[in-house]
Symmetry: C2
Subunit: 562 residues, 2 copies
């Protein structure tokens, strides 16, 4: 259901609220005696009573829209539910019925609630961390999360490398959980498999990414678990167990950057240093409610890293706050031009790969992003179902072929020690012939051309970070396979294009987090990060915003994304 | 806009909520993934997530609907905003968007807020008084409220009459503010005029109504001010000043039972003993947010009372709670059959006499009453504009003629001391000839026949208690006259019919109280009071409930009440 002009009006309202523009707010509340505004304590009826109240109250505290749900009821009526967060950790929800009279949208019913911050937790001093992160009842120091903690290493007489003494770099005070694929000087790399660990040499130097974070002032909290050889998106490990997901009790963290993500989500580390080949940063970011960045392929050095599939392997980071994500990624990335985002595109095909619930959550997160940044959202039909399936098959073919090439020697000797599902992926790589691989590489080259053309600097593609929220720890194989199939078709897009991709943790399915993924053209990592802090320009083209989901319950209409 | 079945569904929802009937609630929330429910802290999207939440939470605390605002958006979509109060003084608001699919209404968006009780005030021990009444910052002990307080009288050596020693009657502990028209043994009657007071004898016995309250265990807090000779609805007095309205700072209390109402609203008395000729209980009840009962004409003894117009004069009481109103009225009234109310009728003509804001507030209060009692509301067209105007003129003619006859001797001598507006009303009575008066009495006899026919036992007429909320203390004469004209046309209906009329303080215009008036056939006082506590019967005919106001903003449509 098209609702032309609705989001422009919502954007004007939000701007007027934040700037305490009382006359504008009065215009955006429907005139007449039947308009209703409620908060917890008082219900006011009639435009003029509401205006009198508004003129007398202090300006509302500054806040950030995190999810905006739009539901069209009829061509002239829609419901907008906006969830927001305040700087102090408090939250708010406003439910508004908007009606259009003579072409102009105005609020006819509004209901506002705010909730003060939860029990305050001392701030850590980390940029952007107000100390309100969830505290895990039992800090995960166990082996499902950590292979080696800083305390373990010190006790063994091989303390982990430290930042320069007295560092005041941008990551000073931030504790890093390093995925057990990166070399850490004085330690072995375990790669999620005890046989790998047993044969690994003690590293004489740290990986380039580890050194870059140390140089920026970070400390190492420890070396954290990974899915076996990083060849999984689940966050399970048959040898070390399944780390807890503090954001979704009883659920998996996603992987393969599982241990670092669990540590950051629990607040016992601040930065997760991970890798993303087919989604290994974006999926745990989505499942654990973290900000996560997969960097442009090739932009960050992979020196000192156990690889999986070199055409797709990238370094990535996860944090609880966008500010720290920007600081951590900034320490890793090369210099890049930062371009203001002026256009967000969505592909209905990609959105529909997610579960219905996830699609709606991601649309709500995206709508909030559009409103708070002033960037219009447009639907594009650059992809076809058949084309996407071809990309996915090509991605998988090359990934499996490269993984087999990378690890065939290890698998030949230690294959029996592997999780059967992981072993099967390696074996599938063994069966790919060179003609198949060449064909797949040709498809990927075409995909990259399409995606680079679709995403010039200033344009961002929005899609779900995963097709489902975190699965239950006891999910059966069929459920795991279905989630993996949907998610890989989403994550392979950035893989195929070598694109940077940012997962923003503002979706909610029930109480479970789910990420909004924002991908940009290669080399646009810093532009993507800048979008998180972007505010509407003086001439923000809000008029071209269009609601993504405006379907009346119960049945989503096919044109919901039109 | 007719919304058939909507209120039935809302009634089912409310019943299911109170009984924690989770399966029924699940049916009444729209199926599908787009349904939204928010409270202060969490927004859940999708029927099943909402159902999971609901199944896990404890039952909601018992609550009472006080206002239910209904707004039709389109034939299949409506907004319902329900305000409720909990037994502990906490309040709640739920805003729901209801949509109809295949004939069945279901909630597609809901937003719920609750607020705990305000600063607790020690309960007084008065039935139904939880101690949360507004506390006036400066308890009104001044002469605008009281002519003689119990403390004044005791200090003068003429203590006010007391209840029987050790009384455990239904009013034990309740403090009564007696309007200065009732005889109180040992005191003079002042009638709101110093010249009247100066010539008044010291009473040797109390009025029958005062004695009845004392016999039920009440104590007398004092003799409180009245508008001059009770011939005003304003609550102003040129000699003693204008008492404050604790429920509406800066506004008048309404009159003529002004001082007693101010005392009860401020919490320094619990029962106001007043009189109602043309609205003198119902209007201050409406303006001050009190429960008020005008009794059936002739049902309660007027012995010991300074009268105004004997064809209409009645005794009445005002309280902060319905329980105490029932107890106080019960001490005054004769035995009566109590009949369950099965039908509430509204006259669009009467509703339209009120300001738009008041009409909407009264409709919201009435909708809540209908939902919590299970009594259907029907529109009737028993009255015509011309007929009502004729009733009003007849009422005014007889009132003025009788008032002149009652007080001509006093006015002849002391007329110069009277407020000019009050004096003018007496002088108008002087000019009425016997033919005019006889004609008016014939019209009133017809009115009474019509009203008694319209209101058999079990049927109640709902209308606004006043046409406006309390006016500002500095309102100009034109504003006062306009409010008086509208209000008198409403209040004269019960006057003409000799009907009991109950004002329920559940309307709100902005933050100002306004009363819903419920009138019944003569002798149905106790049935009216019973309606306040009535709950839906096992076979409540909720299906015949119809929304009263279902107009989309901004312009109320003429058929709004249809």
């Amino acid at each position: 259901m098209p609702l032309p002009g609705l989001l422009e009006a919502v954007g004007r309202y939000e701007h007027a609220l934040i700037t305490n523009d009382v006359p504008e707010l009065d215009v955006l509340f429907a005139s007449g005696s039947t308009t209703i505004r409620s908060d917890g304590g008082t219900t006011l009826v009639g435009h003029d009573h509401i205006a009198t109240f508004r003129a007398q109250r202090p300006p509302v505290p500054r806040r950030t829209l995190v999810r905006v749900h739009v539901r069209g009821l009829a061509p002239e009526h829609a419901v907008v539910v906006a969830e927001s967060e305040r700087a102090d950790g408090g939250t708010g929800v406003q439910t508004q019925v908007w009606s259009r009279t003579e072409g102009a949208w105005a609020v006819t019913t509004a209901h506002v609630s705010t909730v003060p911050p939860a029990v305050p937790v001392p701030a850590t001093g980390i940029p952007g961390d107000t100390g309100t992160h969830p505290e895990h009842p039992e800090p995960p120091t166990d082996r499902t999360v950590w292979r080696v903690t800083a305390e373990d290493a010190a006790a063994d007489g091989t303390p982990l490398p430290a930042p320069p003494a007295g560092s005041t770099g941008p990551l000073a005070g931030a504790r890093v959980a390093v995925k057990d694929l990166f070399a850490v000087a004085g330690q072995r790399v375990g790669a999620g498999n005890p046989a790998w660990l047993a044969q690994a040499p003690v590293e004489t130097a740290s990986a380039a990414a580890v050194d870059a974070l140390l140089a920026a002032g970070a400390t190492l909290a420890g070396i954290a678990q990974t899915d076996e050889l990083a060849f999984s998106l689940a966050g399970t490990n048959v040898h070390y167990g399944t780390p807890p997901n503090p954001a979704a009790p009883g659920r998996i963290t996603g992987g393969s950057t599982s241990g670092p993500s669990a540590a950051v989500a629990a607040g016992v580390a601040d930065v997760a240093l991970g890798t993303d080949t087919g989604g290994s940063v974006r999926v745990p970011a989505s499942y654990c409610g973290l900000f996560g960045l997969r960097t442009t392929h090739g932009a960050v050095s992979r020196d000192g890293l156990v690889g999986l599939a070199s055409s797709f392997d990238t370094v990535g980071v996860l944090t609880r706050t966008p500010e720290l994500l920007t600081a951590a990624a900034g320490a890793l990335l090369p210099a890049q031009d930062v371009v203001r985002t002026t256009r967000i595109v969505v592909s209905p095909l990609l959105m529909d790969l997610a579960d219905d619930d996830v699609r709606l959550a991601v649309e709500a997160a995206l709508c909030a992003l559009a409103l708070r940044t002033g960037v219009p959202v447009e639907t594009v039909d650059a992809l076809t179902a058949a084309g996407l399936e071809e990309w996915f098959e090509a991605f998988r073919t090359v990934q499996q072929a490269e993984a087999w090439a990378e690890h065939r020697a290890f698998v030949a000797v230690h294959g029996e020690s592997l999780d059967p599902a992981v072993a099967a992926r390696f074996r599938a790589g063994e069966r790919i012939d060179s003609a198949q691989e060449a064909g797949a590489r040709a498809v990927l080259a075409g995909a990259r051309t399409t995606l680079v053309g679709l995403l010039p600097p200033g344009t961002v593609l929005a899609l779900p970070s995963s097709s489902t929220p975190a699965l239950r720890r006891d999910a059966d194989a069929a459920e795991v396979d279905a989630a993996r199939a949907g998610t890989l078709r989403l994550t392979c897009v950035a893989g195929a294009g070598g694109l940077p991709a940012l997962s923003v943790p503002t979706g909610r399915v029930g109480t479970l987090p789910v990420g909004l993924c924002l991908a940009a053209g290669p080399g646009q990592d810093r532009s993507l990060l800048a979008l998180l802090g972007q505010t509407p320009g003086p001439a923000a083209p809000l008029s071209s915003l269009s609601p993504l989901s405006s379907v009346p319950a119960p049945a989503p209409a096919p044109e919901a994304l039109a």
